[in-house]
């Protein structure tokens, strides 16, 4: 996956780049409007991560330009600290695929990218196999153990989302905050909410254990949870 990261804030740029590279993305950097414009003209990308407040021009103009050109088929995710609703509407109208207000979680960013990829390539049945024979159908939002005609694991919406997120970032430790932010989105809550995560994890484990082994969800002491 080829990604163009357009972000003028150097430190943030480095952090995002590092994370994406670890996640096996090929990352190109642009720090200014002109730089980004040139790179977009020359190369073709799978993703453009676009900061709106750029030196030399409005990030939305880049989006507009790219949408006019035939050969650029990148999916755009807008990253902005402006947080204005107006920007959001404009961005999505112009054909941005998603929008993340700063500060955002890098995990959230990569899972949005995965979701866009799934959508883009029309993966009708996208399945994740995990544990000792569990199968998650991401499109139908079901989890089964074994054969497709076996009974569903009765997970609630949030429990499913939680499990899905852990599996998407398999092998990574996810903190309660990261999980909470994914579940409840960009809603302003104080951190007491992260206690709900423990209860959710407990319930997911209990429900999975009735069908197979739930040991693949590891508790990382003092930090959070990890799916292996």
């Amino acid at each position: 996956m080829h990604v163009l990261l357009v972000e003028d804030e150097k430190s943030l740029h480095q952090e995002v780049k590092q994370f994406l590279q670890q996640a096996q993305y090929l990352v190109d950097s642009a720090y200014t409007f002109t730089e980004a414009s040139e790179k977009l003209y020359v190369n073709s990308y799978d993703f453009v991560l676009l900061d709106l407040g750029l030196p030399g021009g409005d990030g939305l103009e880049l989006l507009r330009e790219s949408r006019r050109s035939e050969k650029q088929e990148a999916s755009f995710i807008i990253l902005t600290a402006r947080g204005d609703l107006d920007d959001r509407i404009k961005g999505l109208d112009l054909g941005a695929d998603d929008y993340l207000p700063k500060p955002f979680s890098l995990l959230e960013l990569t899972s949005r990218m995965q979701a866009i990829t799934r959508r883009k390539f029309g993966l009708k049945r996208s399945e994740i196999v995990f544990g000792d024979g569990f199968v998650m159908d991401v499109t139908a939002r079901t989890v089964r153990h074994g054969a497709p005609d076996s009974p569903e694991v009765p997970l609630t919406k949030k429990e499913f989302d939680l499990l899905n997120y852990l599996l998407l970032h398999k092998g990574r430790v996810l903190t309660r905050l990261q999980l909470g932010e994914h579940l409840w989105g960009n809603v302003l809550e104080d951190d007491s909410d992260s206690n709900y995560i423990d209860v959710h994890i407990k319930n997911v484990r209990k429900k999975l254990a009735q069908f197979g082994s739930a040991d693949f969800i590891e508790t990382v002491r003092g930090i959070g949870y990890r799916a292996v």
Binding site: E15, V16, G83, D84, K102, D191, I223
Partner: protein, 453 residues
């Protein structure tokens, strides 16, 4: 009471007083004047008669048929003169003169007369020395005076009543006209203003200096207020933006650090702790930014949003945590209320904050009630009630304070309501609604949103 009404009332009452005074005072004064006038005339007549007697002698006046009494009446019987000889023994030397009122029979009618009576020594014929004393009476009928008084009284009454009525109306009309700028100032410029930005800076049409000044000072004050509001918001918004970027960097850096498989556990824990701290900072900044954006009218108000639907959405979203704490939810909105000119996202946030608080500060197995009723005075009232520990009365006003977290005391005291309520309040105000709290320690808390009609 409105100024115009007050002026009108005062005007009417003062005119009424004037009429009453006029009706009471004018007749006695007129009567008095008439009497004085009559008295003067009687004196003149007396002098005239005496002069005539001195010139022509008494005999020309005396007619023998009536016991030497001379009497003369004019044809309308309004005045008369009598000269009666007095006995020699009741002469007293001095000329006594009296003026009094007495009924006298003239012809066949008895009438009130004003009478001048005096004793004078008169000679019988011309050139005679005064030998005998006579009583001279000159009377003038009071009938004319009374008639005059009555006429004047009713005339005064009518003139005063008509004048008063006329001036009451013209005064009211003038007050109405000259107070129009004030009315306009209140109804057009001040009524329904929630923030200085809504004030109309269009100049008032008036040539009254006072109103001109009032309008100008109000406008100046509003401009000043607006400017400082703008500055505050701009500041909040700038600061928030400036804070979000470094927060962003730190958040990403922590995430990257946590991905390092060689990271020792104590360090990892510290990073998680730092992440929590950063999360709190981030939420505060986002809250301030959200509030600033709402107050800066960055949000559209172009949807009609059903409260029932929004409550259902929020309830579904919070279903998991509600069930985790075994709290039952009772929703009764009868009828539903569709908020006009609303922002669906913000209303969702408002209800989410209220419901989430009601769950958070409830005891396990408690109940949360969402009740909606039309208000008697129009509009709609939405209540979100919980069975929680309640809030001490002293703390209730602090709930909505943006920069203040209070700490409740008592068993299982909630840690504080955080910034959710100031957000909720800002959103309520954005929708021309009012958010308040009713709470009783040990019983629970109700958050009430009153939507204006």
């Amino acid at each position: 009471m409105r100024l115009e009404t007050k002026l009108g009332l005062f005007n009417g009452l003062s005119k009424l007083l004037l009429v009453v005074l006029g009706v009471l005072l004018i007749p006695p004064v007129v009567q008095r004047v008439a009497v004085v006038h009559t008295d003067e005339r009687l004196q003149e007549k007396k002098q005239e008669v005496l002069n005539l007697i001195a010139r022509d002698g008494l005999t020309t006046f005396l007619r023998e048929e009536h016991d030497e009494t001379y009497a003369d009446y004019n044809i309308l019987k309004q005045e008369y003169i009598t000269i009666t000889p007095l006995g020699p023994n009741n002469g007293s030397g001095a000329t006594t003169e009296r003026i009094f009122e007495e009924p006298r029979q003239v012809g066949k009618e008895v009438e009130d007369f004003r009478i001048l009576s005096c004793e004078v020594p008169l000679g019988a014929t011309k050139g005679d020395t005064a030998t005998r004393r006579y009583r001279l009476e000159i009377g003038s009928s009071l009938g004319t005076v009374e008639l005059l008084t009555d006429t004047l009284r009713s005339l005064a009454l009518w003139v005063l009543v008509a004048g008063a009525a006329l001036t009451v109306f013209t005064d009211a009309a003038f007050a109405h006209y000259s107070l129009r700028p004030l009315r306009e100032l209140i109804s057009r410029k001040l009524r329904g203003i929630r923030q200085p930005g809504e004030f109309s800076f269009e100049r008032l049409h008036t040539d009254t200096t006072d109103f001109r000044r009032l309008d100008d000072s109000l406008s100046a004050l509003m401009r000043q207020l607006q400017a400082s509001f703008d500055k505050e918001r701009e500041f909040m918004s700038n600061v928030s933006h400036e804070l979000l970027t470094p927060t962003s960097i730190l958040q990403s850096r922590f995430e990257n650090m946590l991905q390092d498989p060689t990271l020792p556990e104590p360090h990892a824990r510290q990073i998680v702790e730092s992440q929590r701290t950063l999360y709190r900072l981030r939420n505060t900044v986002r809250t301030l930014l959200l509030i600033a954006n709402i107050e800066n009218d960055q949000y559209l108000r172009d949807a009609s949003v059903s409260l029932r639907q929004t409550v259902a959405d929020v309830a579904e979203e919070l279903d998991d945590r509600r069930q985790q704490r075994e709290i039952s939810l009772h929703v009764d909105l009868s009828p539903d209320y569709v908020v006009p000119q609303a922002n669906a996202t913000l209303l969702h946030t408002l209800l989410r904050n209220l419901l989430s608080n009601a769950l958070k500060y409830n005891h396990e197995g408690g109940q949360v009630r969402v009740l909606g009723r039309p208000r008697l005075e129009g509009g709609y009232q939405l209540r979100v009630e919980d069975d929680g520990p309640g809030i001490a009365p002293d703390n209730v006003p602090l709930l909505f304070d943006r920069f203040r977290r209070f700490h409740a005391t008592g068993p299982k005291a909630p840690e504080g309501y955080g910034l959710g309520l100031p957000i909720a309040q800002t959103i309520a105000q954005f929708h021309k609604a009012e958010l308040r709290a009713e709470s009783e320690l040990g019983k629970g808390t109700a958050f009430v949103v009153d939507f204006a009609a």
